[in-house]
């Protein structure tokens, strides 16, 4: 698959019947080229802005205001169209891009610290494994005590769906069950455990997720999803002897990413 790593992704949005996004796209492209910022700009309609998820920034080309549910920064790009305040806008744009580039990095290793990794754990069943992952989240101050029950309830309610791929379960609860801060906890199991999934059993690794909203953990979860696509990395984690070894695999992988 084509990497889209270094590109800075911008959405240019205007109302459906309007043409302003097209003009603003051209202006942005030439301006960012002048500043050697590789970018990929896509045009959208205003009502799509709320659901955008993998863009780095949204530039509105119209008088309407729109917010984004994933917390992507939204700028009003009309100065590029009208020319009024264009200089200030360009200055703000460059500043924002720098901020975002800085913020985007190293998120997975921030969400998962060595003390929230347990290697080669022995657990009796899936409930105990989920409880252990939840316990690490609670002890780290990321979630309230009740969050653990929330994780168990979700597993009960939706059966084996938390086994997201062969060998890996990702138990989590709804944000309102006591999620305070975004974070992850990881445990690998010495003896694989059945979670009741028709294809993906048995489970060798449990990744507990705590997310108070849809936004803060997005980069980390994207990194995690890419990590889990790499069979050899997943194997390394499955069989790693201790938590530091697991962390090192993740940290080394993260360095190769450019999300």
């Amino acid at each position: 698959m084509k990497g889209c790593g270094l590109m800075f992704r911008i959405a240019a949005a205007c109302r459906r019947e309007s043409f302003t996004a097209g003009i603003i796209t051209e202006k942005l492209e030439s301006f960012l080229e002048e500043h050697d910022i590789p970018c990929s700009i896509t045009e959208y309609e205003m009502d799509e802005v709320v659901e955008l998820i993998t863009e780095d920034m949204i530039v509105l080309a119209g008088s309407a205001l729109a917010a984004n549910s994933a917390g992507i920064p939204v700028l009003n790009g009309m100065p590029l169209f009208t020319g009024v305040g264009e200089k200030q806008f360009k200055k703000l744009l460059l500043k924002k891009i720098k901020e975002i580039e800085k913020e985007k990095k190293k998120m997975l290793t921030e969400m998962l610290t060595v003390d929230r990794i347990q290697a080669q754990t022995s657990t009796a069943d899936k409930k105990e494994a989920i409880r252990m992952a939840g316990r690490m989240l609670v002890d780290a101050g990321l979630a309230e005590e009740g969050y653990i029950q929330g994780m168990l309830d979700m597993c009960e309610e939706l059966s084996s769906y938390i086994v997201i791929m062969p060998g890996v379960a990702m138990p989590h609860a709804r944000p309102e069950r006591g999620a305070k801060k975004p974070g992850l906890a990881l445990l690998t199991l010495k003896e694989p455990i059945k979670f009741g999934h028709p294809e993906n059993d048995p489970v060798r690794m449990v990744v507990g997720l705590c997310a108070p909203d849809k936004t803060a953990h997005l980069v980390a979860i994207r990194e995690l999803s890419k990590l889990l696509c790499e069979e050899d990395k997943v194997e390394q984690i499955f069989y790693a002897a201790d938590s530091q070894e697991i962390y090192d695999v993740i940290a080394a992988f993260e360095k190769t990413l450019n999300l």
């Binding site: 939706l158 769906y161 609860a173 709804r174 979860i221």
Partner: protein
């Protein structure tokens, strides 16, 4: 400039913050690499039915709970992180749905 109405894909998971986000982000990259423009929405189980979509993307367990949802296509995933599996199911669904739309 009149733009065509885009096909909408709805991603549903238990809480709307975990696996549906992973799948939605992967789908975004896949469509992008194919140069296709679509609309992607994610949701948790309880609010999924309030969304209007052409295609639902979820897992067997979740589909059982929302079977009567009004969509034209349903994609059920085994592996929520596999880009390969997603691509092999979502691109044919896109082609089928856009062909049906053309016929109208």
């Amino acid at each position: 400039m009149a733009r065509k109405e885009r096909l909408t894909f709805l991603f549903v998971c238990g809480a709307g913050v975990g696996s549906s986000m992973m799948v939605k982000m992967n789908a975004d990259e896949i469509f992008r690499n194919h140069g296709l423009k679509v609309k992607l929405i994610s949701s948790d189980v309880t609010s999924s039915k309030s969304n209007k979509a052409d295609c639902l993307v979820t897992t067997q367990d979740i589909y059982r709970l929302i079977k009567d949802i009004d969509v034209k296509e349903v994609i059920l995933l085994q592996n929520m992180v596999s880009v390969k599996e997603l691509e092999s199911k979502i691109i044919p669904a896109y082609e089928k749905l856009s062909a049906e739309r053309e016929e109208k």
